[in-house]
Structures are given as structure tokens and as C-alpha cells.
């Protein structure tokens, strides 16, 4: 074992705490600002310790919204974000797992061509096809709807690839055994393959939920109605007005609320998160 001398160990602890401080400071500042008075913040006299407006600010943010720029309760925005994130995560997993099942467990013409067709979408992120995609969604009358927010993002080359790789490692004996029991393709999928895929699905879900919750460019394009805004869009609109009118405590409370669900997911399901992140990058 390579022994670390005491001094070097102290240095390591100190560097790590500095790193944590750098990472946490902007978020701490947002929380502190959300508990203080707007006038004090606007004067540049903000204190670095929490103030006494916590309940007041969060109540107004969640149930009322800003008094000026958006007037939309942030609670509603969070609900929109939640629906969108769940639809994207569940949708991607569902359609990817059945595509992978077809590609691995069946032989049919154009099997590999279809696989490549899905795979190449990796190279077509929404940023490179912004306006034509917008036009299609508009033509399909899906602007300002949950379908419009989620459907165009639901294809997943990574998830399909991941499930394909996983299915390849499932021993053939399992299929033969369930066939002897008289199971068809549906029973085998439901009773054998799906339970085996649970951990993979959970890890993928964690990553995809965060990805869905944090969507920005796409909802920005296709939502115009205030009541369809996601929280990421809402927060941007709150700071569009001239600086003097920005209600900073509410903006910062919204920032805290926008971070809370995905950060909780990462912290609470750290093992699955790390696994999902490493698996999807392979």
C-alpha cells in the first residue's frame, strides 16, 4: 500500500472542501436571496446569511408567481415540467425496449437497416433541426401541448443501444426454458426479460428524468401559453423585464425549486445515477 503522509492528506481534504465550496456557493447564494427582501437585494446590500422571508417568498412563488412579468404560479410550471419529464423518460424507455426486443429476438428483412436508422438519430440533436421540427409540430397542431413537448424527443438511440447490448448478454437457455413452458413472445418479454431489465431501466430512468426535467430549447420554441410553461422557461421570462423590475427573491426561489427535484434524484439514487451515466455514455 502506498502510504499517504499526514500532511498530504490534510491538503487533499482542504482542496476537496474548496471544490465543494465552489460548487455549492452559487446555489447557497440563490437560497439566501430567496429568503430576503427584494429592495435590499436590488441595492446590492444582500446579506450572506438567510433572511426572514422564507415562507412568504416560497408561498408567493409556488401559488401566485411574480406580480409583474409572468404571473404564473411556479407550482403549475413544476407540474408541467414533471409531466414532460415523466412522459419523456417513460416514453423513451418503453419504445426503446420494444425496439431492442424486436431487433435482438426476431429475424426480419431490414432488421439492421432499422437499427441504423434509430442509431443515426444520435447525430441529429434538436439543435440542428430547430425550425423544421417546429414547423412539423405546428402543422400537427401540437404546439402548447404535452404531446408536443414530449413526443418529438421520445426516440432514443442510446436507450435502444443499451437494451440491445443487455439482451445480447441474456443466456439463450432462458428463452428455451420458457418456450418449453409454452411461453410466446409476449409472455417471455413480460415474465422473463422485463424483470431482468429492472436495474437497467431504473438507471436509465434516473438519467432520462433529469434530461427531461432540464429540457430548455424545445419547450422554449413550442410553448406560447403561460399555463403550458415549464419551470425552466418560466425562470427565463422572469428576468426578461428591465433589471429594476426583476423580483429577485422570487426568481431565486424558482431557481431553487427548479433544481430541487433532479438534485434530489441524484442524491437519493446515487448508485443508479452513476450507473446510468456510465452506461449511457458507452
Amino acid at each position: 500500500m502506498v502510504e499517504e503522509e499526514g500532511f498530504r492528506r490534510y491538503v487533499a481534504h482542504i482542496i476537496l472542501w474548496i471544490g465543494i465550496a465552489i460548487v455549492a456557493f452559487p446555489v447557497y447564494l440563490a437560497f439566501v436571496a430567496s429568503t430576503q427582501d427584494n429592495a435590499v437585494i436590488a441595492n446590492g446590500q444582500m446579506s450572506l446569511l438567510p433572511g426572514g422571508h422564507f415562507f412568504e417568498t416560497y408561498y408567493q412563488t409556488i401559488f401566485v408567481g411574480t406580480s409583474g412579468s409572468t404571473r404564473e404560479p411556479v407550482g403549475n410550471m413544476m407540474l408541467n415540467s414533471l409531466v414532460m419529464a415523466l412522459l419523456i423518460a417513460v416514453g423513451k424507455i418503453a419504445i426503446s425496449i420494444i425496439s431492442a426486443y424486436a431487433i435482438v429476438y426476431f429475424r426480419f428483412p431490414f432488421r439492421m437497416a432499422l437499427f441504423w436508422l434509430i442509431f443515426i438519430t444520435l447525430m441529429l440533436p434538436v439543435e440542428v433541426r430547430i425550425y423544421p421540427t417546429y414547423k412539423i409540430v405546428a402543422d400537427l397542431h401540437m404546439l402548447d401541448s404535452y404531446a408536443g413537448l414530449s413526443l418529438p424527443l421520445i426516440a432514443s438511440a442510446t436507450a435502444t443501444l443499451l437494451f440491445r447490448q443487455f439482451f445480447m448478454t441474456v443466456p439463450d437457455e432462458l428463452l428455451e426454458a420458457s418456450r418449453i413452458d409454452g411461453a410466446g413472445p409476449f409472455r417471455f418479454f413480460w415474465d422473463t426479460l422485463l424483470p431482468l431489465s429492472r436495474t437497467n431501466m431504473a438507471a436509465l430512468f434516473v438519467i432520462l428524468f433529469i434530461l427531461g426535467w432540464n429540457q430548455y430549447l424545445w419547450p422554449l420554441l413550442i410553448t406560447t401559453r403561460d399555463d403550458m410553461q415549464t419551470i425552466q422557461i418560466g425562470i427565463r421570462k422572469m428576468i426578461t423585464t428591465t433589471d429594476a423590475l426583476t423580483e429577485w427573491p422570487i426568481v431565486m426561489a424558482t431557481a431553487v425549486l427548479a433544481m430541487l427535484p433532479p438534485v434530489l434524484v441524484v442524491v437519493a439514487m446515487q448508485k443508479l445515477f452513476v450507473r446510468g451515466l456510465v452506461e449511457t455514455e458507452k
Partner: protein, 293 residues
């Protein structure tokens, strides 16, 4: 590689692929094709007629100094974000890799910013460094810096780079830590027995063994800087002041938003598409090598 045990069915596999196929064709390939077609067309001012103009949109784009600057700016941002975030994350990962008490806690406290959305990152950083009310701006001014990122282009660019690098620390940290933990202890011990001091051990043994991870992260960070900085830029500077923080993706967005030149916006999209294909290609070639490594 193929499975030996399979099901026989003519229609079922197509039904299973159909949902994903429909989405891919309608929302991915059709718009991409539209972008390609549009990039060869020129619309008149009223949108009444279009003419096929071959590569004119592309030629105009490359003659436009603003586009050229946007390309250079995007590459500069990518480089600066990748280098600053990677080096800081590597330092933290090397420290966290040591047998320290509480190393799990350190990991938890360093990885959560991964979950913060880019637009929120933008809001956090502009608040912290806002010219009139930012908490850190006070100290900068006390140091004699004339800090105003809303008016000074270089300062705005610095702010974007810092914020974008900050968000990426956790991701890079996680992959560096995994890379470090996969280096066999015996190799490091052997170097120690040979009398190599910790610094020397790092540069001659650990760093070279980590190079596949570094290269992989470099590509991921460049892709991130290209695309995911959109939210950060949009909530912080909107590409300004002037055009000092306008990246390629931001330019496609604003050019199309103004409804101006559809052909040019489409040509920009196609160029971005080519860049993504190249970057993804590099990433995959590398992943294949990592397997045999």
C-alpha cells in the same frame, strides 16, 4: 453478433419497432431533410416564391465575417470550457481517489450539480456576478476591476465560460474518479518502490494511464459546449453584448427567430449537423479502442 434462440414471426417485429420508427421518421429525418432542401433554396422577401440556388446560401455564409467570428468564438468557448473544467475536475478526482475518511461524502457533495439545468446555471451566475447587485461584483470592484459583463463583451464571455465549466465539473469528476479507480494499485506501488515521489508518480504513471478517459471527456465536453450552453447563454447574456457571446447554435436560433433568412438558417443547421457527425464519429472510434485497451 446474433442470438441463436429467436422467435418466428413475420409481423410482430415490425409492430414492435413501429412506434420508435414513426417518431424517428416524423420528428428527426423529415425535419433534417427539410433543412437540407431549404439550405439550397432562396426565398423572396415576401415568402411568395422560392428559387433553387445551389450553394449560394453556404457561400454567403462563409463570406459573412459574422459567421466566421461565430465559428471561432464557438471553438474558443469549447476549448476554454473543456480545459478549465477538466483540469479542476481532475485535481478534485485525484484528491478524492486517496484513501481519505469521508470520501463517499465528498463524492456526493461534488456530483449533484450535474442535475442543475443550463438556464438555471445562467440565472445563478448572472445573479452572483450581476454588475449592480451581484455579491461577488462588490469584491471585484473593491479589487479595482471595472466589472460589467452586461456591457463588456470579454467579461461576458468569461462569465459564460466560467458558468458552463462550473456545471460540467461534476460530470468530469465522476468519470475521472472512475478512471483513476480502474488503475491497478500495483502499478502505482511499483513506481513508489522505485522511489518516484507523488508528483512524479502522477505525471509519469497515472496521467498516461488516464489518457483514454481524458480524450473521451474532451470530446464530450466539446459537444456539451457546442449545444448545452444554449440555456446558459440565453438566460445570461442573450448572445450579447453585441455578438460577443453568440455561439453557432445561438445564431441559428436567433437568425431563424427573426424570421429573416430561412435558407441561411437551414444552411447553418446543415453545417452544425456535419460537425455533430464528425464529433460523434470521433467519440465512437475512440470507444472501440477503449474496449481493446
Amino acid at each position: 453478433m446474433q442470438k441463436q434462440a429467436i422467435f418466428q414471426s413475420k409481423l410482430l417485429p415490425y409492430a414492435l419497432v413501429a412506434p420508435q420508427l414513426a417518431i424517428v421518421l416524423i420528428f428527426f429525418y423529415w425535419p433534417a431533410l427539410q433543412a437540407m432542401i431549404q439550405s439550397f433554396l432562396l426565398q423572396d422577401a415576401f415568402g411568395l416564391s422560392t428559387t433553387f440556388v445551389w450553394f449560394e446560401n453556404y457561400i454567403d455564409l462563409f463570406k459573412d465575417p459574422a459567421y466566421f467570428e461565430a465559428i471561432l468564438r464557438t471553438f474558443f468557448f469549447s476549448f476554454a470550457i473543456a480545459v478549465s473544467s477538466l483540469s479542476f475536475a481532475l485535481l478534485l478526482a485525484v484528491m478524492a481517489d486517496k484513501p481519505l475518511r469521508g470520501s463517499m461524502l465528498y463524492r456526493t457533495l461534488l456530483i449533484w450539480p450535474y442535475a442543475v439545468a443550463p438556464p438555471v446555471v445562467g440565472v445563478l451566475w448572472i445573479f452572483m456576478l450581476h454588475p449592480s447587485l451581484g455579491v461577488l461584483s462588490r469584491y471585484l470592484r473593491a479589487l479595482g476591476v471595472d466589472w460589467n459583463p452586461l456591457l463588456d463583451g470579454n467579461q461576458a464571455a468569461t462569465l459564460i465560460i466560467l458558468a458552463a465549466a462550473w456545471k460540467q465539473i461534476s460530470y468530469n469528476f465522476l468519470f475521472f474518479l472512475a478512471g483513476l479507480q480502474s488503475i491497478p494499485r500495483s502499478v502505482i506501488e511499483a513506481a513508489a518502490i522505485d522511489g518516484a515521489r507523488p508528483m512524479r508518480r502522477f505525471w509519469t504513471v497515472i496521467f498516461p494511464l488516464l489518457s483514454p478517459t481524458i480524450f473521451f471527456l474532451l470530446v464530450v465536453n466539446i459537444v456539451y459546449a457546442f449545444f448545452d450552453t444554449f440555456g446558459i447563454i440565453d438566460t445570461m447574456t442573450r448572445g450579447g453584448p453585441g455578438k460577443s457571446t453568440e455561439t453557432l447554435v445561438y445564431k441559428v436560433y436567433t437568425d431563424g427567430l427573426l424570421g429573416g433568412n430561412l435558407g441561411s438558417s437551414a444552411a447553418q443547421s446543415v453545417i452544425l449537423m456535419i460537425m455533430v457527425i464528425v464529433l460523434t464519429g470521433i467519440q465512437f472510434r475512440f470507444v472501440e479502442r477503449k474496449v481493446t485497451y
